[in-house]
């Protein structure tokens, strides 16, 4: 009886399955169709080979650099923060989560614009530095500013998954390690870090993907001087109105993301297999 009921309730997912088909799968087929055709609707591979164009290649390479640096900085900043939060033993976990989501209620673009204020030559940061007698820095409209903006924007996406995976670790395991004579750094590198790997991986993906493809942060904080692959694609759609080329480059970007993720997963598998018992 119950099992029959189960098959019946599984149809509740029906409307969503239809939605996925129309709004997730079908659009991807559309983008693939546009990528494989030219203006006249004829089959072509030109939109893919266009990536070999030095301008495109350069922007892809720059995006990759920015994404890697952003991800690494986020990871280095986020892990200690997640660890500290975890050790606070706050009973109300959702409160912590909210503290990191709360800034999102201030419009994302306004927040990035506020960084312009902070970073500009006569901005808040330089005034503070001058006051402290440390000289000034000029990073607005450079790659550094773009990276800073991305780190700012995506840091919560790194902290939250790591924090979640840390809170899933059984305290007994840590105590057992201490009981067996492990020092804090041994516990961190041999116990905590490997056990929070899942959180690290999903954090890395959630930071790497948007920072590889973002175009708004580079527009606002790069001042048009930092041309990422996201900017190139956006311009193909809004300025050049070459949808086919834009679609082709989007597909390339997608493939690039998938490749990076599968390399990351492989690394992870290799790590698992090679772990000494």
């Amino acid at each position: 009886m119950i099992s029959k009921l189960r098959t019946r309730t599984s149809f509740l997912a029906g409307p969503y399955a239809l939605w996925v088909l129309i709004c997730t799968v079908l659009p991807l087929l559309f983008i693939l169709y546009y990528a494989l055709t030219n203006d006249n609707g004829h089959f072509t591979l030109d939109n893919f080979t266009a990536i070999a164009d030095p301008i495109h290649l350069k922007s892809l390479w720059l995006s990759f650099q920015v994404a890697i640096i952003t991800t690494v900085i986020c990871l280095i900043m986020a892990y200690p923060a997640a660890l500290i939060l975890h050790n606070l033993k706050i009973s109300n976990k959702s409160f912590v989560v909210f503290l990191f989501i709360l800034p999102m209620w201030m419009n994302f673009m306004l927040r990035i614009l506020a960084w312009q204020n902070i970073l500009s030559n006569n901005g808040i940061l330089n005034n503070i530095l001058k006051f402290l007698g440390l000289g000034t820095i000029h990073i607005l409209y450079t790659k550094s500013a773009v990276i800073l903006g991305m780190v700012y924007d995506f840091l919560p996406y790194m902290i939250l998954p790591i924090y979640n995976s840390l809170s899933k670790i059984n305290d007994d395991i840590v105590e057992a390690a201490a009981d067996l004579g492990a020092k804090w750094h041994t516990i961190l590198f041999r116990i905590t870090l490997p056990l929070s790997k899942d959180g690290i991986i999903s954090g890395v993906i959630m930071v790497f993907v948007p920072s590889l493809s973002s175009f708004v942060v580079s527009n606002l904080l790069g001042g048009g001087k930092v041309l990422l692959i996201g900017n190139v694609i956006e311009q193909e759609f809004t300025l050049a109105r070459n949808w086919n080329l834009g679609s082709g480059l989007s597909i390339i970007l997608m493939i690039f993301v998938l490749l990076s993720m599968s390399i990351m997963n492989n690394e992870d598998d290799a790590g698992k297999g090679g772990m000494p018992l």
Binding site: M1, I2, S3, K4
Partner: protein, 356 residues
């Protein structure tokens, strides 16, 4: 007409056969325990009766009516679940009232019933407490109260005491027996704990791998196990391969010993079951077999001894202390030697091996 009848009921999950043409009859007002190791099909049997599963084939009758296809909510049967399954967002009173509200009983009736049920399980005055504030034993009682207020004809209990500690388990056993007498309804109880089964039930159904191994009173099951599986599962036993020389004479471990069993034929291979408490120790040479004590553990009421006789190690329970290394002889009176047929098929042989 039987009260509850399973007629050739089969059930499999994911291609794995759990019950194979099970036939089972249960008398009204009995306390029946389904006993067996995990995976033996006892819980599936209970779930089929509760209406949570549908058999692949066969029929189930209650009071002569075919209830095979009747959904759980329409059966006059209630269940006490293994992990209690209390509704966490409701108070105790709301939990108990759940079934009565569905039956559209009056509020006065419901209130009376809640009072009565809480008194019955010794938790008077707990009406408005939260589920979280209760101990495991108390939650168990609420689960029972919630089931019995609906006045079911049959109460199903799925390892209800499994999560409780030993002391509590024993006192709950007596309370359940008392409850059974007060309510005068049929209890069907599932457990893997043989002591629980022997204490509470008036009929025990020993199951293994989807088959019923033996049905009988606790005394029958303990004293006259029908096969090696039952003997091994119920209590502790020395199970030895032997040969039935002729009626009332069996040979095992190289000696011939008189027994009381007949009708096995001559020179037939059999299994010999001897309970550890039935072995008597004596001066060397006085019994049917000599051996040396290789282990002695104090168990409270008795000592558990290991006695090595050639290649065979006996388990013996005595109230007297023996030194390790001491020479002894073994004796068993003919009445305490239980002879069983060898498993007929290879399948049963496998079961026997699995259990060890």
């Amino acid at each position: 007409m039987e009260f509850i009848q399973f007629d050739k009921v089969s059930k499999s999950y994911d291609g794995q056969l759990i019950l194979d043409e099970l036939d089972l009859n249960v008398k009204e007002n009995s306390f029946v325990t389904l006993l067996g190791p995990s995976g033996c099909g006892k819980t599936t049997t209970l779930r089929l009766l509760g209406g949570f599963e549908k058999p692949d084939s066969g029929n189930i009758y209650l009071n002569g009516t075919d209830i095979t296809l009747l959904p759980a909510n329409l059966r006059p049967i209630n269940t006490v679940f293994q992990k209690y399954a209390l509704f966490p967002h409701m108070t105790i009173a709301e939990n108990i009232a759940f079934g009565l509200k569905i039956q559209k009983k009056s509020q006065d009736y419901i209130n009376d019933k809640i009072k009565y049920a809480l008194k019955l399980v010794n938790l008077d005055g707990f009406e408005n407490r939260d589920i979280d504030s209760l101990s495991g034993g108390q939650q168990q009682r609420i689960a029972i109260a919630r089931a019995i207020v609906n006045e079911p004809k049959v109460l199903l209990l799925d390892e209800p005491l499994g999560a409780l500690d030993l002391k509590l388990r024993q006192s709950m056993q007596y309370e359940l027996m008392k409850l059974k007498q007060e309510l005068g309804i049929t209890f069907i109880y599932v457990t893997h704990d043989q002591e629980e089964a022997l204490t509470m039930s008036d009929t025990i159904v020993v199951m293994n791998q989807g088959y019923i191994q033996q049905i009988g009173t606790p005394e029958d099951i303990y004293n006259e196990p029908e096969n090696a599986f039952v003997a091994d599962f119920i209590g502790e036993s020395n199970i030895i391969e032997g040969i039935m020389i002729k009626d009332e004479l069996v040979q095992f471990l190289g000696v011939q010993v008189p027994c009381v069993d007949k009708g096995f034929g001559n020179m037939k291979p059999v299994d010999v079951v001897i309970r550890p408490e039935d072995v008597e120790l004596d001066q060397p040479g006085k019994g049917f077999m000599d051996g040396i004590i290789t282990g002695c553990i104090f168990k409270g009421v008795h000592y558990e001894l290991d006695v090595q006789c050639g290649n065979w190690e006996w388990m013996v329970h005595t109230t007297k202390y023996f030194e390790v290394g001491q020479q002894v002889s073994l004796n068993v009176i003919p009445f305490n030697i239980q002879i069983m047929n060898k498993p007929a098929s290879e399948d049963e042989e496998v079961l026997k091996e699995d259990d060890k």
